[in-house]
Amino acid sequence: MEFTLKIWRQANRSAKGAFVDYKIADIEPDMSFLEMLDVLNERIVLEGGDPVFFDHDCREGICGACSLFINGRPHGKGEGTTTCQLYMRNFKDGATITVEPFRAMAFPVIKDLTVDRSAFDQIIQAGGYVSVHTGGIPDGNAIPIPKEDADMAMDAASCIGCGACVAACKNASAMLFVAAKVSQLALLPQGKVENERRARAMVAKMDELGFGNCTNTYACQAVCPKHVSAAHIARLNRTFIRSGFNKPKE
């Protein structure tokens, strides 16, 4: 197969970026999208150029490192997949493919197709955990948890923190990301204790870092590689509103 790639090149955080066209041939249909980029990069290196920088690691669709905005969609057009699990057989031979970084004010471009997603870590650091310390814990079966709740918590917890939800949202909102964590922990007795405090802290951090507000378009849910449901946003909203009434005096 052969393709024309329009790839966003940007030397560093402060440089101005632009699209650069590359022609690429002899691509096999069973190659993943990232393996296709590996082929391109090997060629660029042999020609004495600077290879395209993109984040990737596990290449099994679970670490959340790969990103890429492919033909106007985070992780490309595959349903419920990350870029590393997108295969070239899904593209038409001879097609032109546009590859950009995820775009959001809170995700500044580091270089080329790589963005800085440390804002997600900062949101978690603000309260996305159970404040339990190591040791002195009762038996794992001490508190029964209804299977339905455990399963629903698992669905929320399957978020891989890739940021596709933010990239797809016209407001660059991180609501699905925040909701997934708040919802997971709200559904479990261990996390309920800090539920409202957690929701307040994480939402405040999200706002502070420049993510936009949620206007319920559900673009996030449509592109989420792990099918995290926008229903979790409703649970976050309920928790957040309730927390406003119950807010302790600081």
């Binding site: 800085d116 870590d121 190591t134 794992g140 455990a150 399963d151 917890a157």
Partner: protein, 645 residues
């Protein structure tokens, strides 16, 4: 035992040792903890849990990760589960049994006191993770669910869908984030450790490269914890993540830390077969699939031929013409034999010409019986996401046609030698998780890696590091201005400049691929003397060629090719040591199979008289490594030939 290899196993019966240790170890009072600095390199299960727990105790912790976020460490990819001796299923499990299974699974090449401690701690890990909000699978009574796994006859594996590693890591990442928020832990992302700094005989810091700016940084501490994972990527193709590498451990080795059992590599039986030269990595399908999937190849060569030509579908072959070879050879364990046994059996069938894909390097993993027995709904609930993943990669539906699988490099049991306290031969350098030579002997059982990483980080290092640091309380913050830091930084800069200066004609990946071919061919699933000697020569030649002909762009800031070149240069040295170790170990045990040493029916043949030891290598600049031996003293368990029949 040799002077340098004091295992420091505490007194008492095996069941009392860890308690005795904790009762008598030295402590550091809270005011002094605040004055002591610890560096943790790596944020996988071992690193994140260690950094979080040490931060909670009040130490100043600096934690480093190679990725953009600590949550991306490769622990995340573990699918199947985590073992613990809870005996929730009332099926006869106990700490003793988990201990025995792990020692036996590792083919009696692990230190028994460490393994017993691991089994003992396993139960606390589950409690800890539940308290963190890890959404383990549960039954309708709300109790934790278990599944069975290879190498065990009880159901002791806890799981969170097919994402157990991810959920456990997110638990540890949450704990780490909590400490970062409190200010006890400082996080450094996109950093790669390039050297260990030793001052007055103690590990006192690291040299790291900032992967975004290219800056070379110095970081000092009273102690260093290495939790940087395994070195499976020496084979180029493995189930490891792209950034997983052996350099941090290797550079510690070159600074004096002994490297133990480098040849013990785990080849995982259930991976998606290689399908092209362009391939960048291999994908593992969880071992849990062997619970309900049955592994087979056709009995008749003509059927194999017709399948390869596409004239016959696997479903068309009647049961009588299928060879369920694991059930045939190992009736007691069937499809649930340990990984090394399952991998070798697949290789044996494929070498005999029964492989079912075009390359002849694949066997079937069939769910038709399970679907008939349990219905597609139950099978989907258990394995849905794995099936989806398989279908996405291979474009075949496992509900309709059996999966094709083949073994692939997955885990390295070898690693830096550590004593009972997880301290290496360099005082102040502690090693946790896959990076140490660990508790798995010559073969790791499924669902034990997660257990070990978290045991090391949550429940062992917080005790043993305190013991080490108790006499360091008068030591002020370590300066980064010393001659030792100066020299270490200069060496790193010189090395980088030398690599950039080669300006050759071949890419780093091309060299890495060539190294991988040599390793897979001669130091892979079956090893023999001539092949290993050949490999040592080939690797040595390849290394010379690499340093004369590698091509790396000379760019400032981000330079991924340079990152890879530094790692591949180390892999070439490590690969040679692996071959030397495999050559030295004239026996078959666990994942290490020497063709010359097998029973009449092709099973691994151990030699306890000659090789009942841990091989620990000392680096020597410019000459061959020196082998030191830690004899394994089995008091609590009887050495037996493994039998899964």
């Amino acid at each position: 035992m040799e002077e340098k290899l004091q295992s420091k196993v505490p007194q008492g019966s095996i069941a009392e040792k860890w308690t005795n240790y904790k009762d008598t170890q030295r402590l550091v009072n809270p005011a002094n903890k605040r004055r002591l600095d610890i560096i943790v390199v790596g944020t996988g299960l071992a690193g994140a849990s260690a950094a979080a727990s040490l931060g909670e105790l009040g130490f100043n912790v600096k934690v480093f990760c190679i990725q953009d976020s600590p949550r991306r460490a490769h622990s995340i990819a573990a699918q199947g589960g985590i073992n613990a001796a809870k005996n929730y299923q009332n099926d006869g499990d106990s700490v003793r049994r988990l201990f025995e299974d792990t020692v036996k699974g590792g083919d009696y090449r692990a230190r028994e006191a460490n393994v017993y401690r691991l089994a003992e701690i396993s139960n606390s890990i589950i409690d800890q993770c539940v308290a963190q909000g890890v959404p383990f699978a549960r039954d309708y009574a709300g109790m934790l669910a278990n599944r069975s796994f290879g190498g065990a006859q009880v159901s002791r594996t806890f799981y969170a869908k097919g994402q157990t590693g991810q959920q456990l890591l997110l638990g540890a990442y949450g704990a780490l984030s909590k400490e970062i928020n409190k200010g006890t832990v400082k996080l450094f992302t996109r950093r790669e450790m390039l050297d260990l700094v030793i001052v007055d005989g103690r590990a006192r810091g690291i040299i790291a490269r900032n992967l975004e700016t290219g800056d070379i940084e110095r970081h000092a501490a009273h102690a260093v914890v290495l939790a940087t994972g395994g070195y499976g990527n020496v084979f180029f193709l493995s189930t490891n993540a792209m950034a997983s590498n052996g350099s941090a451990a290797w550079r510690c080795h070159k600074k004096g830390a002994f490297f133990a059992n480098p040849c013990f590599t785990q080849i995982h039986p259930t991976c998606i077969p290689v399908h092209g030269d362009f391939q960048s990595k291999l994908t593992l399908m969880s071992e849990s699939l062997r619970n309900d999937g049955r592994i087979w190849v056709p009995k008749k060569k003509e059927d194999v031929e017709r399948i390869r030509k596409g004239e016959l579908r696997p479903a068309d072959i009647p049961d009588a013409d299928r060879d369920y070879y694991l059930e045939r050879r190992y009736p007691a364990f069937g499809n649930l034999v340990p990984r090394d046994v399952a991998s070798r059996a697949a290789k044996e069938r494929c070498d005999a010409g029964f492989g079912v894909n075009n390359a002849g390097l694949a066997v079937y993993l069939d769910f038709a019986d399970a679907i008939n027995r349990l219905g597609p709904k139950v099978v989907e609930a258990r394995y849905g996401n794995l099936f989806e993943m398989y279908q996405n990669i291979v474009a075949q539906n496992p509900y309709e046609t059996p999966m094709m699988i083949y073994p692939a490099v997955h885990y390295t049991m070898g690693g830096l030698w550590v004593d009972y306290e997880l301290q290496s031969t360099v005082p102040g350098l502690f090693v946790a998780g896959e990076a140490n030579f660990s508790d798995h002997g010559a073969n790791r059982l499924g669902a034990s890696a997660l257990m070990q990483g978290l045991a090391d980080g949550y429940f062992i290092l917080p005790y043993t590091l305190q013991n080490y640091l108790s006499d360091q309380i008068r030591e002020p913050h370590i300066s980064i201005e010393s001659a030792e830091f100066e020299a270490a930084e200069k060496a790193v800069r010189d090395e980088i400049n030398a690599l950039l200066g080669v300006k050759g004609k071949e890419t780093v990946d091309s060299f890495h691929r060539r190294l991988g071919h040599v390793m897979w061919e001669y130091v892979g699933m079956a090893r023999e003397k001539d092949g290993l000697m050949k490999a040592i020569g080939l690797i040595s030649d390849l290394r010379k060629e690499f340093h004369q002909n590698v091509l790396i762009p000379n760019t400032f800031g981000v330079n991924v090719e340079l990152e890879k070149a530094l790692r591949v240069a180390d892999f070439m040295e490590l690969g040679e040591l692996m071959a030397r170790d495999a050559l030295q170990r004239e026996e078959s045990c666990g994942g290490h199979f020497r063709v010359e040493h097998q029973t009449a029916d092709g099973e691994a043949l151990r030699d306890d008289d000659r090789f009942n030891f841990v091989a620990a290598y000392e680096w020597k600049d410019g000459s061959e490594p020196v082998l030191h031996k830690e004899t394994l003293d089995f008091q609590a368990i009887e050495l037996k030939q493994r039998n899964y029949k």
